[in-house]
């Protein structure tokens, strides 16, 4: 059995501690000027990675992050970042409360659909018609997969950053805030399921399975977990919370189930993220899950796994070398126009006045961490090249930072009404 050597272990622990400590310091500093935590974590990744640290002090960089030369450390870090992304999807699922979509009714559905359909169509069309702009193949399955991916990447929203923006603007409980949240839930649910489908199409996880098999497997797994799985969870959770150690019992059960579902979906040639995401929905929807347990899971994942994942992106990608202003400009234009207009039109169709509808569209435009996760997974699956990943990351950060000012503008603007 291959084992980490004494030196490997020290290197791995040092790398993790540097990633955690430096990202926390930078993210806290960024927070003071109103930047999202994920931006600080990405900046640290860029600083510690080949873009800056690697080019200034290559020897020191290689000693701390020997990703290219030490297979053991590289594999261990890869396992940790894979676990991180699975856990991130799991806690995202915890907040996907489908009943909220039903409760908000027509407006949530029209807004959610508008916020998905227009960005998807525009993204798909541009990627399909101009693959050369993105250095993507101009024909064959890869061409289709890339077009599908870009459409999906532009249609997704980021629940965590949206919830944070609404909280800061004291809009979490009003009609606009609830509509944005419900539509974001719908966007994320559909977006991640479609993305899992794209990843399966791209041949992730082994043998290439047929389209019908993939669609059937996703539908069957999601339906089983959201109907029968939820019923079983609702029977087990009250027992786990009262009979087992608190909060250890419920945390072990929830996280264990998330990983079990992730393993299952990976085994049936869907991506592990789908299992974790759907398990998160099934657990998070339970009325028996105490708020404290939910908070602990969020804290643990957001403050341990998330920094490791986002810093690791900067370690793998040279942002300066792969920054292509044309691709960034196209992705940004598509993202802003597609999401703001699509969700805005959807909200208007749902009966919202224009000004509020555009406020909702601006709120849903924040892509945040979810877009970065999506881009990274697509990059690792070989669907996109580094310039597109960099463009998606830049877009995620800019949309997250501009979302709140845009919402304020539309709320104040008399002409938009």
């Amino acid at each position: 059995m291959s084992k980490l050597t004494h030196h490997d272990l020290i290197t791995l622990l040092l790398a993790i501690s540097v990633m955690l400590i430096v990202s926390r310091i930078v993210a806290e500093a960024g927070k003071k000027i109103g930047l999202p935590m994920v931006m600080g974590e990405l900046v640290v990744g860029i600083g510690l990675g080949p873009t800056i640290f690697g080019s200034i002090a290559p020897a020191a960089h290689e000693a701390l992050f020997p990703l290219a030369t030490n297979a053991n450390v590289s594999l261990s870090l890869d396992a940790i970042t894979s676990l991180s992304v699975i856990m991130l999807l799991f806690v995202t699922g915890l907040e996907v409360r489908l009943p909220l979509v039903l409760k908000q009714g027509k407006i949530a559905i029209t807004t959610g659909l508008g916020g998905m359909i227009l960005p998807f169509i525009t993204g798909f069309a541009v990627a399909w018609l101009f693959p050369g702009l993105f250095a993507s193949p101009a024909s064959g399955a890869r061409h289709t997969i890339f077009a599908l991916f870009l459409g999906t990447a532009l249609s997704i929203s980021a629940l965590p950053v949206i919830a944070r923006i609404l909280l800061d603007m004291n809009m979490l409980k009003n009609e606009i805030g609830m509509t944005v949240l419900a539509a974001a839930i719908l966007n994320d649910l559909v977006g991640w399921i479609v993305f899992s489908f794209i990843l399966s199409m791209a041949g992730q996880g082994g043998a290439a399975f047929s389209l019908n098999h993939t669609i059937f497997a996703i539908a069957a797994f999601a339906s089983f977990m959201l109907v029968i799985g939820r019923f079983i969870i609702n029977q087990i959770l009250p027992w786990a919370q009262t009979s087992l150690s608190w909060p250890g019992g419920v945390l072990s059960f929830s996280l264990g189930l998330g990983l079990l579902c992730a393993a299952f979906t990976e085994a049936i040639h869907l991506h592990a993220i789908l299992g974790a995401f759907i398990a998160g929905i099934a657990i998070g929807d339970s009325v028996h899950l105490r708020e404290q347990a939910r908070e602990i899971m969020h804290q643990f994942v957001t403050n341990f796994f998330a920094p490791l994942f986002f810093v690791s992106i900067g370690l793998k990608v040279n942002f300066l070398r792969h920054f292509d202003p044309t691709i960034v400009a196209i992705v940004l234009a598509l993202a802003f126009l597609g999401k703001t207009a699509g969700a805005g039109l959807g909200a208007r169709a749902g009966g919202m006045p224009w000004r509020q509808a555009l406020t909702i569209g601006s709120g849903l435009n924040a892509r945040g961490a979810m877009e970065i996760i999506l881009g990274t997974l697509a990059f690792e699956a070989g669907i996109i090249q580094q310039p597109v990943l960099v463009a998606l990351i830049v877009m995620a950060l800019i949309t997250s930072v501009t979302s709140a000012p845009m919402m304020r503008y539309f709320l104040r603007s008399p002409t938009a009404g």
């Binding site: 935590m37 995202t92 907040e95 009943p99 039903l102 109907v227 403050n303």
Partner: protein, 292 residues
């Protein structure tokens, strides 16, 4: 037959009370309850049976009414055929029924719950207020303690006033107005950005806002001799108040009618009233306030 449309009419007084009559072992109990309610509200009573109008059924119903002392001049009997839920709804609409009274099991079996029982089906779609009696009694249920859902909704003030009206007529001693505090996305929003102080301040601020909302509504009520208390409880709307009503042994839970017509998806992914219909904690009054 009245042609008065229900739309636009205030939820109380209950001028016309309908009773969904089923020839079950609980027939006398439901009729007894309806008689007491009609007397208390000075309401006209309409007994509605959806099913075959046979001589035997007619005789049985008249006999039961006579035995219970329901005066024939203050009640009418309507016999209709067809699907019970839409037919009952139509009857209520045609006859301007303000309150429909019916017996309901605390918990339906899974099959019946998902396919829809009459009581649950009416609760999801009725255009008038509904009183679901879980343990009807021929000599009348006591409604000493009422729990009223104080959700932030334009309908709530009407629901509270209806609860007070109902309580005053039926000798209620205590009304608890309960607001459920639940914020989807809050745990996620505060996970990485908030210090311990900010997190607790945010939560207590939200809780205080919920408490202030119900306090403002309670101030608009005139409860007379009834004691009104206010409470904010954490938890999922519908589920939390169901647990609360059960734990405080409420006699009646008073809630708003749903904002939209609930369907099968609402049963699969329950929310709000659907949690209550899953497992009735006590008798339930669903107030249809008909606000535009």
């Amino acid at each position: 037959m009245h042609d008065t449309p229900l739309k636009g009419r205030p939820p109380y007084p209950f001028g016309t009370i309908g009773v969904a009559v089923a020839f079950s072992p609980r027939l006398d109990d439901v009729l007894g309850e309806a008689k007491i309610l009609a007397a208390a509200c000075s309401a006209q009573l309409i007994l509605i049976h959806i099913g075959p109008r046979t001589p035997r059924n007619e005789t049985t119903l008249l006999e039961r009414c006579n035995l219970l002392g329901i005066p024939s001049h203050s009640m009418r009997i309507i016999w209709e055929g067809g699907d019970p839920v839409p037919t009952l709804l139509d009857c209520c609409k045609q006859n301007g029924v303000d309150l429909l009274v019916l017996g309901a099991l605390r918990r339906e079996n899974v099959f019946r719950y998902y396919l829809g029982s009459v009581a649950r089906g009416l609760s999801r779609a009725a255009k008038c207020s509904l009183l679901l009696l879980t343990e009807p009694n021929v000599s009348g249920t006591t409604f000493d303690k009422l729990v009223v859902c104080g959700d932030k909704n334009p309908k709530t003030i009407h629901t509270m006033n209806t609860a007070v009206y109902f309580g005053q007529l039926l000798g209620t001693k205590e009304i608890s107005v309960v607001s459920e505090f639940d914020q989807p996305g809050l745990a996620m929003a505060m996970a990485d950005h908030s210090t311990a102080g900010q997190a607790s301040t945010t939560k207590s601020q939200m809780s205080s806002e919920a408490a202030a909302t119900i306090h403002n509504m309670v101030c608009l009520c005139a409860p007379g001799s009834i004691t009104i208390s206010e409470k904010t409880i954490p938890g999922r709307p519908g589920y939390a108040i169901r647990q609360y009503a059960e734990s405080c042994k409420a006699d009646l839970l008073v809630i708003n009618s749903p904002d939209s017509r609930y369907g099968l998806m609402d049963r699969i992914f329950p929310h709000d009233m659907e949690y209550i219909l899953e497992d009735l904690p006590c008798s339930v009054l669903i107030v249809h306030s008909r606000v535009s």
